[in-house]
Amino acid sequence: MLLVENLFKTYRRNVDVVKVLSGVNLTVEDGEFLSIVGASGSGKSTLLHLMGTLDTPDSGAIYLDGRRIDQLSNTQRDILRNRTFGYVFQFYHLLPELSAYENVLMPAFIRESTLGWLKTRRQWRKRADELFERVGLSHRKTHKPREMSGGEMQRAAIARSLLQNPRVLLADEPTGNLDARNGDQIVQLLRNLNKDDGVSIVMVTHNLDIVTATDRVVKLVGGRVAEEPAALHFTPRLLSAVG
């Protein structure tokens, strides 16, 4: 369970002070597929980055399974990012010099020492092969990111985020750069991962069409969670409960 408690975050650029988050409270249950929506600048991406320890809050706390994670040492946060969280970004963020296959294996490169890599590389490669199969990209393994389409790059990025079986997948506008068809495919892929592997997913989006695939929707307004969940009625879990 990921718990966010009274989170504040302010960005300063020279004399301008931008209040991004002003007291966010949020709970992400294990196995939940949560989407966060809101207008541009409402702080949804910032919230996601803070939850994934990519940045540090000004005040407030973030707990993962009861353990506070926003105050961990750099080393511990590195390990957390490497093994517990998976990230999917709007701009894919693949390393341009490496092939899709090497990109997917990157978390393992980072995790293992040279010796450790030599010992474990077979297992890692097997795992990467599975993931390529799963995201339907087996024919693109040796391609560089620039030789792939947006949808393919995003699928490679998802495969990379899954390499170490993360507890929580954090997706920041994963369909933001894709057309509707590719976007649907990506959301469907996430949905299946959530259902089959039980990985918790937090997805930030401003596309209200895709939130229907998620369990719960949270709306951020002016740096806080809006009182009334935006599209709660349409979520499948609710529908199935009703149905």
Binding site: H49, G52, L54, D55, T56, N74, T75, D78, I79, L80, R81, N82, R83, Y87, F89, H93, L94, L95, P96, E97, L98, E102, M106, P107, I110, R111, R160
Partner: protein
Amino acid sequence: MRYLRTRYLAFVCIVSVMLGVATLIVVNSVMSGFSNKLRDRLHGVLSDVILDTDNFAGFREPPDEIAKRILASPAGSHIEVMAPTVEVVATIQFQFRGMNVVKPVKLTGVNADVQSKVGGFGQFISGQKHLAVPSFDLSPEALRRFARNIEENAGLDEMMRDKAALDAEKPSESDFLGKGPRIQMPLDVPVNIPAPDLPQFEAPKPIGIFVGHSLAHFRYKNPETGLTEEIAALKPGDSVLVATLAADEMRPVWGTFVVADYFKSDMSEYDSQFVYMSLADLQRLRRMGDRVSHLQIKLKDVTPKSFTFVKANVTDEIQKLFRPYEVRAATWEEHQGPLLAAIDVERGILNLLLFMIVGVAGFSILAIFTMIVSEKIRDIGIMKSLGASSRGVMGIFVWYAVLLGFVGCSLGTVLGLGITYNINAIEKGITVLTGAELFPRDIYYFDKIPTNVESLTVILVNIGAMSIAIASSLIPAYRAARLRPIQALRFE
């Protein structure tokens, strides 16, 4: 590692390290070559250790006595051979195309055989390099020229007539001597030392001397060819008047001698000043019996030639045997003190300038690395979001610097050594291409650019370049590693 292949910038960085290393190797090798050659030449004429005295009449004791005392001392075990010499200031005078030429010289009387053993004396006598011991005797060709000169009655007689004319209009003494006790100039000194031993009407037996090459030649730039040319003002067989001071009392002595050969050490300072004659002739000319003014000492080959060793074990030991104001023992370095100091100063300044160049090169590497890092900053963000540690990120960049530095250093060493070993061919090529002579041989007297590759210098240059490459990568790498992942990801 591979994700860092920023080909263009990496190439620039390697080239910059390579050029720096190559330049340093070439400059150091040429500098060291020049310096060594100069030292060799400075040492060449001098022996390892020199004994001299301020007494104008020479050492009080005869040279054999001095040598005995030295050999019996602790320093004696290091000594291979000792050569007695007389060194004195003098002038030479000769006729050249109607001019009466007078030049100040340093006149040295030597025993040619012993002298050849203590220093590079023999190898500097132009026409006799093939001989183990050069001879003051005139070659047949020189003898023929001498005889022809006598026949033509050229040179000397004319000079003597000039002198007689000068004597006639001698100024009164009060014109330039001032007041006080005066040195009496005896007027009845013999004009020609060997003459009294010879029958009156036979040609006097010529006494050979060696004259510095530059003393005997005029150099001028030929306006037609633009090249520097030489005319021999004195040729073997020509007579010169050598005038110096007697040892026993303050009076001038002079004699007529005949050029037997040239002395050419390629040190312009020596070649324009040195005149050699046999020790016995100079002792006779100066009326000094068997006394000498200098003792040239050559050390054994096994004796370390470092200045500190020689100073402690030889010169200081010898000095103990004599009163310091009477006899002075010095190493050749001490004798050439000012010149060697000048070389050291030159070397120091050059090193300082090179160091500044290295500083500039270091900053350019720093700039390149900063560019590499900022080009890669989004990738750093990606790596950090995937859990890469700051140390890991920094390590990647430092290793990258090591790799680039290593490649640059290796190429630079190869290039630098290649240039050094072929520097003369390169210089010739540039001269042909541009028409400008880079290395005017007549200034340095070196027929080619001397080089000396010191392996220690090459190693130090490489270590230095590697250190600079690593040091210049540290700052940008540290800055990159310190970024929070989200800062790096958002970096545009």
